[in-house]
Symmetry: C2
Subunit: 465 residues, 2 copies
Amino acid sequence: MSTYWDFAKEENMSLFTDLYELTMCASYFDNNKLAPATFDLFIRRLPENRSYFLFAGLEQVLLFLENVKFTEKHLAYLQKQGFSKQFLDYLRNFKFTGEVWAIPEGTVAFPCEPLIRVTAPIIEAQLIETFLLNTVNLQTTIATKASRVVTAAKGKAIIEFGLRREHGIDAGMKVARSSYIAGCQGTSNVLAGLVYGIPVFGTMAHSYVMSFEKEIDAFRAFARTFPNKSTLLIDTYDELAGAEKAIIVAKELEKTGHKLDGVRLDSGNLTETSKKIRALLDTNGLRNVKIFASGDLDEYRIAKLLNQDAAIDAFGVGTKMGTSADRPYVDVIYKLCETASAKGDFTPIMKLSEGKTTLPGRKQVFRHKDKKGFLTKDVIALADEKTEGEPLLVRVMENGKIIRTLPSLNEIRATALENLSKLPQKYKKLTAAPAYPVDLSPALEDLIKRLKQKLTKTEILNSPQ
Amino acid sequence: MSTYWDFAKEENMSLFTDLYELTMCASYFDNNKLAPATFDLFIRRLPENRSYFLFAGLEQVLLFLENVKFTEKHLAYLQKQGFSKQFLDYLRNFKFTGEVWAIPEGTVAFPCEPLIRVTAPIIEAQLIETFLLNTVNLQTTIATKASRVVTAAKGKAIIEFGLRREHGIDAGMKVARSSYIAGCQGTSNVLAGLVYGIPVFGTMAHSYVMSFEKEIDAFRAFARTFPNKSTLLIDTYDELAGAEKAIIVAKELEKTGHKLDGVRLDSGNLTETSKKIRALLDTNGLRNVKIFASGDLDEYRIAKLLNQDAAIDAFGVGTKMGTSADRPYVDVIYKLCETASAKGDFTPIMKLSEGKTTLPGRKQVFRHKDKKGFLTKDVIALADEKTEGEPLLVRVMENGKIIRTLPSLNEIRATALENLSKLPQKYKKLTAAPAYPVDLSPALEDLIKRLKQKLTKTEILNSPQ
């Protein structure tokens, strides 16, 4: 019997796409539309309570673009779906040959700013849309959410604990990756430890405690196996009674030259209980034993706990961060902004649908900073415009090949932490943060005005012909 | 360069786990705790606005259990994490050898009902926890959400369109699968078409229209490529002007013996616009041309559109269904309910943490129905109890081997549709549905009472020893 995981092969990623990408491409092919075009990948608007995005997912995008191809198995399936032999022959030799500009992973970004800009023959640029959106959506959603959790924790450690409720296997991996980029100290996901080198953390579950006749037997057994790194879960029955037993085990460990690492709380009133347990530990000379808290945490709850001076040293944050539960997606889109004639002359274009207009032309984002390096405003401009500020989009792919060494995960994390540290505090408020200023350059404004007039004239007012 | 997808190999799934599963198991091993135990996988409570769950994900669980193993690469990584040589030797030969009972995929279920029950040597039963939760959480969350969308559509077709914002690759596949189980007619995900045989659907994007100088040129080009199955997206510039052009193309198609399938709206006031466009199409003798709507849809919005008599024939539902945006997870957990002595005598156990108590013992769920087959109530009982109703949990795995032919996807879908059709209407209300009655059997109630007394006495009131 073949197992469910057979689809998970790299070469299958070409069919990991919305059918309409293929129908459009078939029609481009059929109508001999092979000239290049430029698409922008950007996020239309901020979700409630978010005031910036932390961009993540570029590495997976670039590796996909370098490797995407169609196998005979794919082509046989597409033939059954009614695609023409000519188009299938085209797909048989399909390779992405375009140019890609992108902002570095770990960069703080804002609505409507191009995050990735793709220029390629229109069939190539179109076919890759779904994969790019899928990858950037998940990682940017999670990196943004996790950065808020890290901000709320004010320097206390956050461990990503959400694997059991993240959306499947790939999400489990990418959530570990993007929350680490955002400043988490590690993950519970062992495979993410192996694949990405992210530090892994774990203690014990209630079932472990329950499998022993007495709670203290469980604590002693665990301490025997991990005398140098035990964190004991003390709330299976009653937290204070559990803490007393942990103290006994801590003292037993001391007699053999070891130290108890910590205790974990996973339920109840964390503020009150953590204070009582801190007092109990301190009275017993166990100031070094840390209190680790978990259970339904997110940035809002952590901020509240720390406001109430909860005696918590580190947080395990699971489902609500790993699914970005209050907003499990960003409005990321991929829009055509210029097309070329057969001769290769590019023309900027835009869309007018209600509430869904797009910015025309090939663009660049310029970031303005104050003398201390803090972000002051961004300007979206035409790519060839001379304007102030630091350009954010960098050329990362040429002729379908990655042209820069991809940064390591730790380098990306350093970029993210540097970016977040230079984002003024007011924009990091968890709720009701002000809007960061993003302007359009005069030349871009002017282009929009001209195109709107032209579109209204040719597409709406004129009778159709 | 190795690509991001290298982790996605079936044998890696053993490390797709929370580290604490491995630390607990190492300690079980170290303390010679090898006797069997039973765990229940269940959902603690209903999310807001949900009144039932549609269970999905069992097939992937069973295939995982039959295949899970540790490779030398895994063991080398675990050795670096400090696990003992003896434990690694145990893992080298690890196989899941347990017994599994489960309710069939596509069954309607309620809080606290065991969905999967695992009895195995405690290390085996514990090690598999994370994968089981991850798989059932995603698919049950999505199947439940999608069933609500299908209910709201009152028989009109729903196509799953969310691939671009679903959480990564595995989610893209499992969302297509579980929303199809729940009654969607198909998906935009081509790979899900290939792998699962789900019907695939797709039209065109705004970028396609924008890539042509005139909107009508785009429509004509698409109709040329797909004369028998074109759905034209008419809101790139102005929906009514777009509709007029679609009508021209429909008439051109008719002249060559073809028919336009439909038009698609993706923005604006869908009720008002769809009515105007329906009238326009009908006036032009195009009653067969369907109106397809998409754009930020979910069950609430579809219900509202149909209440307002929107002239929509089918819906493409994306992000909000594909991420279950109003609640992107269920509170699914995996809890120890009995342990065995070395001699093999089982003892029921339970947990008392505040708000997190569990049901002890090996259990079965009995479903009561009225004469017409409609669900009336469920009773959670001890597995060996004689009681009325139809037992829902079925033995699906023995000695680590699947003992029943796995149902096909269409069979699972038929189970789901049958289950949903027998769930009384009042429980399918999108908001404020009444609670479906789930009772505990007298013997289970009695067991809980006895265990609570015992636990309070031994674990909380007594001084620790």
